[in-house]
Amino acid sequence: MSGFNKLVGSYQEAMAGLEDGMTVIAGGFGLCGIPENLISEIKNKGTTDLTFVSNNCGVDGFGLGVLLEDKQIKKMVSSYVGENKLFEEQLLAGELEVELTPQGTLAEKMRAGGAGIPAFYTATGYGTPVGEGKEVKEFNGRKYIMEEAITGDFAIVKAWKADTFGNLVYRHTAQNFNPMAATAGKITVVEVEEIVEPGELDPAHIHTPGIYVDRLILGTFEKRIEQRTITTVESQA
């Protein structure tokens, strides 16, 4: 690796340095835009006691769900979980902790973490279980709770295209949490579908500038669909 070239040669190299007990921020919403091969690498590596910050925890057998199989996850920070049986079992057995965080607050916690803002105030969750024990402050007659930023030891991200400098472009709604996740890792690892030379991506169309990216790898993706909804000729009529 030299200069701004972020390319690494293998998935092992991509996740090198991940240790038991670390916090990992993962991009993706449902199964859309998830770093599926980086997740597989964490499974292969066998790292345990991990805290994952991710909107969801995948499904049985795919996405972050695969890390439940060998109980590698200690804690999830998510807005919506329980799309998988294993998650439910481990939660009820007390083997897994979950910190439910409103979706917008979760996105902002990552954004703030990456932007050097330690905390922010939001009306979201005031007067609800989410607000319990948090500082309340009134601005212009309305009450807000203080939410603290999140950073991770690692961030794992899925983008569509990258140049070798790590400038990223996401595809459609696979963008979701990925741009915030990319900013919030001490080490940000990105896997993509296509890598091009610097200069080939329009600088004005970059979603995530390469400054946030530490390691970059080319992958192939299954892109499993969670809810396959189709318009048929009959349903259009």
Binding site: F29, G30, L31, C32, G33, N55, S78, S79, Y80, V81, G82, E88, L91, L92, V98, L100, P102, Q103, G104, T105, L106, A107, E108, M110, R111, T122, A123, T124, G125, Y126, G127, T128, P129, V130, W160, R171, H172, T173, A174, Q175, N176, F177, N178, P179, M180, H207, K223, R224, I225, E226, Q227, R228, T229, I230, T231, T232, S235
Partner: protein, 218 residues
């Protein structure tokens, strides 16, 4: 007759205005999209990061990278935009979405809403609901007026953990259209053929009933 799910969606759709940016929750709220009044343009916001959500794709259009907040595959209309989840919730929290429609388990006379958690049952999470109710000014809650056992969902005080405090001003149920003001439900309209008495009987929270309660028009 109590409204069907489709009629309920149809009544809610009457609250839309031309040029509205609208966020529709899962369930009955999703059906509202089918009843946008003729000649009116609204744009649907999906909180994962899509403004201008279109219909479901055909087999040819199917794309794993194109989903809505319910994780269903969708398309984007001409003039749509796609952005990060932080940007999406900036729109929501910042009050830029004109109308939010969502379901609930309970609503009370102070405008509190409970919609994400039943203690003792598995907790799945609030998704974007807490941000939506905290950020939107114009929220319509759609739900059945009472549970299957006949227990009112319109209460003096919510019994379940709250999704948001003091944020609901309009409720459309299968029996009635109500506004929440000054610590009470105000009966505005009733479903065709539903008596005011039935609504009174099924509303546990204080209900203000005017002399004349018009029927909903479809």
């Amino acid at each position: 007759m109590a409204l069907s799910r489709e009629q309920l969606a149809q009544r809610v759709a009457q609250e839309m205005k031309d040029g509205y940016y609208v966020n529709l929750g899962i369930g009955i709220p999703t059906l509202v999209a089918n009843y946008v009044p003729e000649g009116m343009e609204v744009m649907l916001q999906s909180e994962n990061g899509l403004l201008g959500m279109g219909r479901f794709p055909t087999e040819d259009e199917l794309d794993a990278d194109m989903i809505n907040a319910g994780k269903q595959t969708v398309t984007a209309i001409n003039g749509a935009s796609i952005f990060s989840s932080a940007e999406s919730f900036a729109m929501i929290r910042g009050g830029h979405v004109d109308l939010t429609v969502l379901g609930a388990f309970e609503v009370d006379v102070r405008g509190n809403i409970a919609s994400y958690m039943i203690p003792g049952k598995l907790i799945k999470g609030m998704g974007g609901a807490m941000d939506l109710v905290a950020g939107a000014d114009n929220i319509i809650v759609t739900m059945t007026h009472a549970s299957k056992n006949g227990e009112s969902k319109l209460l003096p005080k919510c019994t379940l953990p709250l999704t948001g405090a003091g944020c609901i001003k309009k409720v459309v149920t299968d029996l009635a259209f109500m506004e929440i003001r000054n610590g009470a439900f105000w009966l505005i309209e009733r479903a065709p053929g539903v008596s005011v008495q039935e609504i009174i009987d099924k509303t546990a929270g204080e209900l203000v009933v005017p002399d004349v309660v018009p029927e909903m028009q479809f």
